[in-house]
Symmetry: C2
Subunit: 337 residues, 2 copies
DNA sequence: AGAATTTGAGAAAGCGTTTTCTCGAAGCGT
DNA sequence: ACGCTTCGAGAAAACGCTTTCTCAAATTCT
């Protein structure tokens, strides 16, 4: 091994030499071990300062068996929801001296297991954000990924905390809101095939159907981003519905834009709801009625759960469920007579 | 060192034992070294597969002296501009098997050097995104951070590629646009004190002033986020200006909202411009006139530069400058008579 | 067939730390 | 003053891998 020939980054050995002690002693001093003579400790410290020594984290990680890093796997980093979760997670983790490594699966569910495994090997834990993989895969993968925290998903695998949002309830409340406004023909513009939160919405809407047999509700295929909403404008018009439940805010915004291009007025001709309450939902034209989810807090809490798991591998794994809050804004209005 | 007592993650030694070879041979097989007998290589491969062996990246990093990870330091992860850069960087890096580690300095310039140093030690390189530190600090830090790529900043330090945006030009074009619409009293809502791109805008506006001595232009203190724009509504009104150049889209949107609350109509009473063209700029009420910057491409290019630096430490360090493109939308209109 | 060469794989060193082990020196009591 | 404990620091092992070094076996050449 002679990768680097001569001089390079200064290491613990250099400090040891300069201070005239062994590297073991330097290590002791750097880690605040008090079994070192104060006079020697001071000598080590000045030597370290003079050389501007900073321990190599890789060597440290190898010896310590931890990296002070956690990974997060998201389906799409372009989605403001996941951006907000990432931010909450990153800020909270940084507070405790941890960094976060990101992996974007680009909505390809087969990539998730690979990315998650890779991330886990590099990190002390991994947060899976709205994974698209099947329940079976998730449960099988869980043990090898532990410590792991799930967002928008749960599993029966042991010791896996879950942060859930009650999308089923939220979508029902939005539907009810539309019904209260007089809408009788609704349409749901659904999300990614493999999204668990989409499935929850569908279950919620099933319930809604039995509660409101008088209401017509059509389910249309869709996606999770702006473009898929935009492309669905035609299908939405064809459906004849006047109250539209979009999968999320992004889809709603795309739809808003697509409808605007076709001269459809919102909310006069058609009412539209989103989901998540991303930061920009209130600044669309018109402002978006949506179901608010505390996304940044989700990231924050994900870190707290992760910390518990890291500190105590046998920690219990609670499931938290957040209730979305309907935010009525300008994109919904009374149905036309 | 007996951190973990008994059984744990399986390592190269387990594979070696099972295949009846030395770990050196396992390593050779795993790394595609062809000086291994095909028959033995096959035995190793099946052993590895049966044990589901995955090399430990930390051990690997220590031996190889590289981590296949790069760091990025941003002033504020809540800012869509930096989110987009991060995304571009992450996607491009992932393409080449690299991961990205994030660090958010929360606009605290004194944290940047620490975060960047820490990131650099953990990673093979670091991208500094719109650093707030002084030129002197930046130049002093550069050698210890190499390979490093700068975004929205440049330095005289050797081998430091820079990706720049000509904010000075962009802001002049926006100002000219407002003048063309008949505005005679302009105001610039400035950004963070330490932002280099803000300084560039100010230089551009100085030039604008000499080119258009007949135009009144006031500089107001501000910030970089939605709230600071919102809070500036009062000061903007007090200035008497009818054409407002906001530091960026976020500030413009906050201002839009603040003005709306005060019953000011945009663009009838006042024209507003943003900067960056974040994805949501076109969906505000009214849609925001702004200067578009190819932010995702910036991240993408940052990775390409980084890759050049990693592959060839003596690579030259070009400076790319992007020209913002004025996007005229609904937030600007003719000045009132 | 014997010497020279090539091939292939194990032994071992090295990457930069932390931590256990070990042992000399100092401190204590009697 | 002697044996006991305590203290402090160096030596060395360990973390998990890659790669050089080394040498036996197989191959080639004369």
């Amino acid at each position: 091994m002679a990768r680097r020939p001569g001089t390079q980054r200064i290491g613990i050995a250099d400090v040891a030499t300069r201070a005239g002690v062994s590297h073991a002693t330097v290590s002791r001093v750097m880690n605040g071990n008090f079994t070192v003579d104060p006079e020697i400790a001071a000598r080590v410290r000045t030597a370290a300062a003079e050389l501007n020594y900073q321990p190599n984290p890789v060597g440290r990680s190898l010896a310590l068996g931890r990296t002070d890093t956690i990974g997060i796997v998201v389906p799409d980093l372009a989605n403001p929801t996941f951006q907000a979760i990432l931010r909450g997670l990153s800020m909270a983790a940084a507070q405790d001296g941890y960094r976060v490594l990101i992996a974007d699966s680009s909505e390809v569910s087969s990539e998730e297991a690979i990315l998650a495994g890779e991330a886990r090997r590099r990190c002390d834990g991994v947060v899976l954000c709205a994974p698209r993989m099947s329940d079976a895969e998730l449960e099988e993968l869980a043990p090898s990924l532990h410590p792991m925290v799930l967002i928008n998903r749960s599993t029966d695998a042991a010791q896996t905390p879950s942060l859930m949002v009650d999308y089923g309830l939220g979508i029902q409340e939005l539907a009810r809101h539309l019904v209260d406004l007089g809408h009788r023909k609704l349409a749901f513009l659904s999300g990614p095939e493999r999204s668990a939160s989409n499935a929850q919405r569908l279950v919620g809407l099933d319930k809604f159907r039995t509660d409101h047999p008088e209401i017509q509700l059509e389910i249309l295929p869709g996606g999770s981003n702006f473009d898929s909403g935009h492309e669905s404008a035609e299908a939405i018009l064809a459906s004849g519905a006047t109250g539209i439940l979009a999968f999320n805010d992004l889809v709603a915004m795309g739809l808003l834009s697509g409808l605007h291009e076709r001269g459809v007025r919102v909310p006069e001709d058609m009412s539209i709801t989103g989901f998540d309450d991303i930061p920009f939902a209130r600044y669309t034209t018109p402002p978006l009625t949506t179901a608010a989810v505390p996304i940044t807090e989700l990231g924050d809490l994900a870190w707290r759960r992760m910390r518990e798991l890291i500190q105590n591998k046998d920690a219990e794994a609670p499931r938290n469920t957040f209730q979305p809050q309907v935010e009525v804004r300008g994109s919904t209005g009374p149905a036309k007579a």
